[in-house]
């Protein structure tokens, strides 16, 4: 996104349609250039049918989460012991669980939990990683040594076991599951951010900024962070599916959301005892997890093509 020369926006040069304006070879404002770049990205993205599929699924998921109370046929908590373990039918499209709760309604409400976990982890982990990585790369010396050593220690830990340990130490709840996942997810971001920092810290424009008297902190926040963000975003997009699977794994082990919350991993765990005769209890939430993490994967691939064209286009 290089800065375009600014010139008065005269009516004569304004292209006829908005599309043409966006795709103009000679953008006349910084804003036009930026919007144009975004639009170009969107066109690339839109051409990728699978990525679009992922996007559509995720939009539907978000819609479902927002509208959950209105579109769920029943309360996700309403028990009916007389009606337990019913197979999928007109009354219960996806059947009922061991306490006679409607599985569809629980899945719909559960989408909120899934989105909450993924969203929060995807926000926290990269920020921790960005901070540690850039500080290490920029400061160098012993600061770098110490920070990278810590990163290594966390990397050498079996990831799920580390998350398990955190939750076991903090007590099981959604909040702690998010924290544990974030604490185990940051090291790769730190590595990435550090590597990016190393490539740019000696760049001319940094030197220029330094000469102009910019402080270290200002260099870090004002110049280095923005340049690391785009590669981190690609990485986050690609990691989203992994976060969903890890969160479901914690829920499956009883260390995520607590009952009666309809967390999908916990629902599979609930259904495990009934798997032989009442397969739908475990199968349905599993399919939900699969669908959503697949959507994130598709979206991530699409985003990578747009934001990181150097990367592997497969």
């Amino acid at each position: 996104m290089t800065a375009a020369p600014t010139s008065p926006d005269s009516p004569q040069t304004r292209p006829r349609t908005r599309r043409d304006w966006l795709l103009s070879d000679a953008p006349q404002t910084r804003r036009q250039a930026r919007l144009g770049a975004i639009y170009q990205g969107w066109l690339t993205f839109r051409a990728n049918k699978l990525a679009m599929l992922g996007l559509v699924i995720l939009v539907l998921l978000i819609g479902m989460a927002i509208l959950a109370p209105w579109i769920a046929p029943q309360s996700p908590y309403a028990q009916n012991l007389a009606d337990r373990l019913q197979p999928p039918s007109a009354a219960h499209w996806l059947g009922t669980d061991a306490l006679g709760r409607d599985i569809l309604s629980r899945l719909i409400h559960g989408s909120r939990i899934t989105l909450f976990i993924v969203g929060t982890v995807a926000l926290i982990a990269p920020i921790i990683g960005l901070f540690i990585g850039t500080v290490a790369g920029f400061a160098g010396g012993w600061v770098d040594q110490v920070l990278m050593r810590i990163t290594d220690i966390f990397l050498a830990f079996p990831k799920l076991i580390l998350a398990l340990a955190f939750v076991a130490a903090l007590g099981p709840s959604i909040g702690n599951a998010v924290l544990a996942l974030a604490l185990t997810a940051w090291p790769p971001y730190a590595r990435l951010a550090r590597a990016e920092t190393l490539t740019i810290r000696n760049a001319d424009f940094i030197a220029a900024a330094r000469l102009q008297g910019a402080g270290r902190l200002r260099l870090l926040i004002g110049h280095i962070w923005p340049l690391c963000v785009s590669s981190l975003i690609v990485r986050v997009a690609l990691d989203m599916a992994g976060i969903i699977l890890s969160a479901a794994g914690l829920g499956f082990l009883g260390l995520g959301a607590q009952p009666p919350l309809p967390e999908w991993g916990a629902m599979i765990s609930d259904g495990r005892a009934y798997i032989l005769d009442f397969w739908w209890v475990a199968a349905m939430p599993g399919l939900a997890i699969f669908t959503v993490s697949m959507a994130f994967n598709l979206l991530g691939d699409g985003l990578r093509d747009v934001l990181d064209p150097k990367g592997d286009k497969s």
């Binding site: 079996p158 590595r191 475990a282």
Partner: protein, 370 residues
């Protein structure tokens, strides 16, 4: 570049930390690698030892803040205060934390990992029992991943955009999106419960359990050594499903990586030259191109192996596999910190050693690295 690189276990992204198969090892990793080659092996080993020590310290601290009382696990619910206190002192918990940690490190250096409170046996004996189970599972899983994944990746690259490429892509995509514990459950339901094709949970049928003399601790190997064919068949029928599952994840990663390495090679000039010289397409692809990606591929396989070693926790739980993952998890949930510490050290050491090996491979075998 001025900064000293001490990433140590760096290089290609660890699959444990990254969802496997995300494109090629990132550029930064390569740069780090090249720099690191200059460093001495001794320095590497020292930094690895530091990593392990840090790993122990973190685990130790987690164990101490854990809201589970290990003493209670030992003496049981009905113990009197006096009995409780006696056990508390016997376990050394009355010492200051620093002393406890140093004592522990000292013991570990002498090969003593302490006693597990949930099995009542030395942790080293427990690990000697459970680690081969995990090793066996991860090895077979990786084998499946390599045997299917490498050819799949090669063909996908050779016929880019073709049917095989599409299939490989979908296989990988599904692999990254599927909760492994769910797939395991469904696999058990279908292949064991409904079809009866494979053995059920556990490593062996009950009647074969303990019948084969223990040499390596890996049942498949031991039964072959003993020449006990039925025991081998039995063990195989039990391991094949969990190993296939792990193998699937490994193959998703390996096939993607192979494909992208191959694409890089196939665009190089020497390939064009070879083609011009009239070499058959088969020779070009399978001998020249594949030969040239052997080293990065071995690294990928090693890392994938490492990730199966440490990443099989959920699979082990689903399949009642008496391996290291379920041992650590069980220890964690019952406050059995000696077990957790011992297990974590082993896993961490595996991770570190595999990284070291791939490092050395690069350093000594890669012709470009000199």
């Amino acid at each position: 570049m001025s900064a000293t690189d001490i990433t140590g276990t760096g290089g290609p992204p660890s699959p444990g930390a990254t969802p496997p198969g995300r494109g090629r090892p990132d550029l930064a990793g390569r740069r780090a690698l090249r720099r690191r080659r200059a460093r001495s092996v001794a320095g590497t080993i020292l930094s690895l030892a530091l990593t392990l020590l840090g790993l122990l310290l973190v685990t130790f601290i987690i164990g101490r803040v854990m809201p589970i009382d290990p003493v209670l696990k030992v003496v049981g619910d009905r113990a009197t205060q006096a009995q409780y206190d006696a056990a508390y002192i016997a376990m050394g918990l009355d010492q200051p934390l620093v002393v406890q940690f140093l004592t522990y490190i000292g013991d570990v250096l002498q090969g003593d990992f302490g006693r597990s409170i949930s099995t009542g046996q030395p942790v080293s004996a427990d690990i000697a029992r459970v680690f081969p189970a995990t090793l066996e599972l991860a090895t077979l899983g990786t084998l499946i991943g390599v045997v299917i994944g490498v050819p799949l990746g090669v063909i996908a690259a050779a016929r880019r955009g073709g049917i095989i490429d599409q299939v490989a892509r979908v296989v990988a995509l599904v692999g990254y999106s599927m909760p492994i514990f769910w797939l395991g459950l469904m696999g058990l339901l279908i292949f064991y419960g409904m079809l009866g094709w494979v053995g059920g949970p556990g490593r062996q049928g009950i009647l074969y359990d303990g019948m084969v003399p223990n040499v390596t601790g890996m049942v498949l190997v031991d039964s072959l050594i003993a020449g006990d064919w039925p025991a081998f068949q039995d063990a195989f029928s039990h391991i094949i499903l969990p190993a296939s599952l792990l193998g699937y994840y490994s193959l998703a990663y390996i096939s993607r990586m192979t494909r992208s390495f191959m694409l890089e090679q196939l665009s190089q000039e020497y390939i064009t030259t070879a083609r011009v010289k009239g070499l058959s397409e088969r020779a070009v692809i399978w001998r020249h191109a594949l030969g040239n990606i052997a080293i990065p591929l071995v690294t990928v396989i090693a890392l994938s192996f490492g990730s199966l070693l440490e990443g099989s926790v959920l699979t082990e739980i689903i399949f009642s596999w008496p391996g290291l993952g379920s041992y650590i998890t069980r220890g964690l949930l019952s406050g059995d910190m000696n077990a957790v510490l011992g297990g974590t050290v082993v896993v961490g050491a595996c991770f570190v050693v595999l990284n070291l090996l791939s490092d050395i491979l690069y350093r000594f075998l890669d012709p470009r690295s000199t």
